[in-house]
């Protein structure tokens, strides 16, 4: 799930650039769960913008705003969306991008949210970052705890000198990722993995912008290893 947070409303208003006519799009997946882009937030945004003198032409919450076919369907269905002077998207950056691709070229598509991270859901309302989509997964060697993500410095060969009683020097509330990895590997009797010198990471797998094309997706067996 992608975690988002609301932008400052003054910044949102400024980005609307004096276009008084605006249509709102939310997302029924991640943004709804984060309480940033569901029905409630669309209504709240509509109220706020109306108070500030905008003409809110309508609002939709699309099931998955990052899915182009669903977005195009909404454009066909909602005349106000197609005709609006501007569109404000309450979804992650991938959602904004998808709407922007689907909208008429003359219509500015604006972002109401900042996208933060790919999250695991610990429980409803509690999200944490466990993967940063680096393109070269280390988790088999690090007991399922990603040092690239959970160590603020992304160190690959063990804790830095700042570890204090097992806690992280940067985020002092968090346990040190490397201490957690150490404890778990030890419990699994696999400390040899920590003793191995880990070579420099190949970042080329995560260099963007990336795209994937599965030819004949129904028969495809996914991307093959490089």
């Amino acid at each position: 799930m992608i975690i988002t947070k609301k932008k400052n409303i003054d910044d949102v208003v400024e980005s609307l650039d004096n276009r008084k006519d605006v249509y709102l799009i939310g997302c029924g997946s991640c943004a709804e769960q984060c309480k940033t882009g569901g029905e409630t937030e669309i209504k709240e945004m509509a109220r706020t913008l109306t108070e500030r003198g905008f003409n809110v032409r309508g609002g939709s919450v699309i099931d998955e705003t990052c899915y182009r076919q669903l977005v195009l369907k909404e454009f066909r269905k909602e005349k106000d969306l197609k005709d609006s002077e501007s569109i404000l998207v309450l979804a992650c950056g991938a959602g904004v991008k998808t709407v922007s691709e689907a909208a008429p070229e003359k219509t500015p598509v604006l972002a109401a949210l900042d996208s933060l991270f790919l999250a695991s859901v610990e429980r409803y309302g509690r999200f944490f970052e466990g993967c940063s989509l680096c393109g070269e997964c280390l988790l088999s060697d690090t007991a399922g705890i990603c040092p690239h993500t959970e160590c603020p410095k992304g160190l690959l060969n063990g804790p830095c000198g700042g570890v204090a009683d097992g806690m992280c020097e940067v985020n002092t509330e968090n346990p040190c990722a490397w201490v957690m990895i150490y404890k778990k590997l030890k419990a699994q009797d696999r400390l040899y993995l920590l003793k191995k010198v880990r070579p420099l990471k190949d970042h080329s797998g995560a260099n963007g912008p990336q795209s994937v094309l599965l030819r004949n997706p129904k028969k495809s067996t996914g991307l093959e290893p490089r």
Partner: protein, 293 residues
């Protein structure tokens, strides 16, 4: 290329007790105070460590300041962190450092940008400290990280850092051993206060790795307030209560801090390879610390 060993390397391999001290580059281009402090210390220490944007606070480059020391006839230990450059920048600065005559290098991870004065900066950490030591060894072997042969490699005397008081100790010890495996020849430790624990670390390390030299890190306590600040704010440093009591009871706390540091250096002299004195902002105190030891 055959070059003369650095003074630091020669002294350590000759088995003499070596003292180094840390000097921080200026925030700006006026190097007069920096050089004056270095000159003052040069008679008492073997080499001066030049910090690299320490605590993630932007300062004049450690490479440039190390070269300035060299020109002033003072031997530098060029400190390099992984925070501010990627593998291209690191290798090219290492080549530059060697071409300009620097021989001693200390490889560190570096403090996180959130500790410093440019908090919106992007941390790099393309390498970690083990990989940085590996990179230095690779250049020392005349190749770059791609395996390509260099037109002239480096011959650095490579140092790294260990935190003998880290808790838990085992993962830190594993990292220490990895640094040795990839080519670290000397260590300057984080601040030590528990001298018995340090001796246990030293005895074990010097038995397992007799060729590796270890300099115990001595951080000057300028006052009881500073000791309390360290305990609260500086990761990995714990000043025991008895030192704080001692400082509080003293009429001149700085004087007492110097006395404590001297005592620690005196203790190290009995068995250790050397001492690395960190007297942030109080570099002048390094002289009485050494004299008292």
């Amino acid at each position: 290329m055959k070059t003369e060993k650095s003074k630091l390397q020669s002294e350590l391999t000759a088995g003499r007790f070596v003292v180094t001290a840390e000097i921080c580059p200026p925030r700006g281009t006026d190097t007069s105070v920096f050089l004056e402090k270095a000159r003052l210390l040069s008679g008492s220490i073997v080499a001066a460590n030049v910090t690299d944007n320490q605590r993630a606070v932007m300062r004049l480059s450690s490479l440039a300041c190390s070269v300035l020391l060299l020109q002033a006839g003072i031997e530098p230990v060029f400190q390099m962190t992984c925070r501010d450059r990627n593998r291209l920048g690191i290798q090219s600065d290492l080549l530059g450092a060697w071409a300009l005559g620097l021989k001693n290098i200390l490889a560190l991870s570096g403090d996180d940008v959130s500790a410093g004065d440019h908090r919106g900066a992007k941390s790099v950490f393309d390498l970690d400290s083990v990989q940085l030591v590996h990179t230095i060894s690779t250049l020392n072997n005349g190749r770059n990280l791609n395996g390509k042969e260099l037109r002239g490699g480096t011959g650095f005397y490579t140092g790294a850092v260990v935190a003998p008081e880290a808790e838990p100790w085992e993962p830190e010890e594993i990292k220490f051993e990895k640094k040795i495996a990839v080519g670290a020849k000397f260590f300057q430790t984080q601040a030590i206060y528990d001298m018995e624990r340090f001796k246990r670390f030293f005895d074990k390390a010097s038995a397992s790795f007799p060729e590796v030299k270890i300099l115990g890190g001595i951080l000057l306590l300028k006052s009881a307030k500073m000791a309390e600040f360290l305990n609260k704010n500086v990761p990995g440093v714990t000043v025991p209560g008895h030192y704080i009591d001692e400082l509080n009871a003293a009429p001149d706390q700085l004087q007492k801090g110097i006395e404590i540091a001297s005592r620690q250096v005196r203790e190290l002299k009995k068995y250790c390879h050397g001492a690395h004195i960190m007297a942030i902002g109080q570099e002048r105190s390094v002289i009485p610390i050494i004299e008292g030891a």
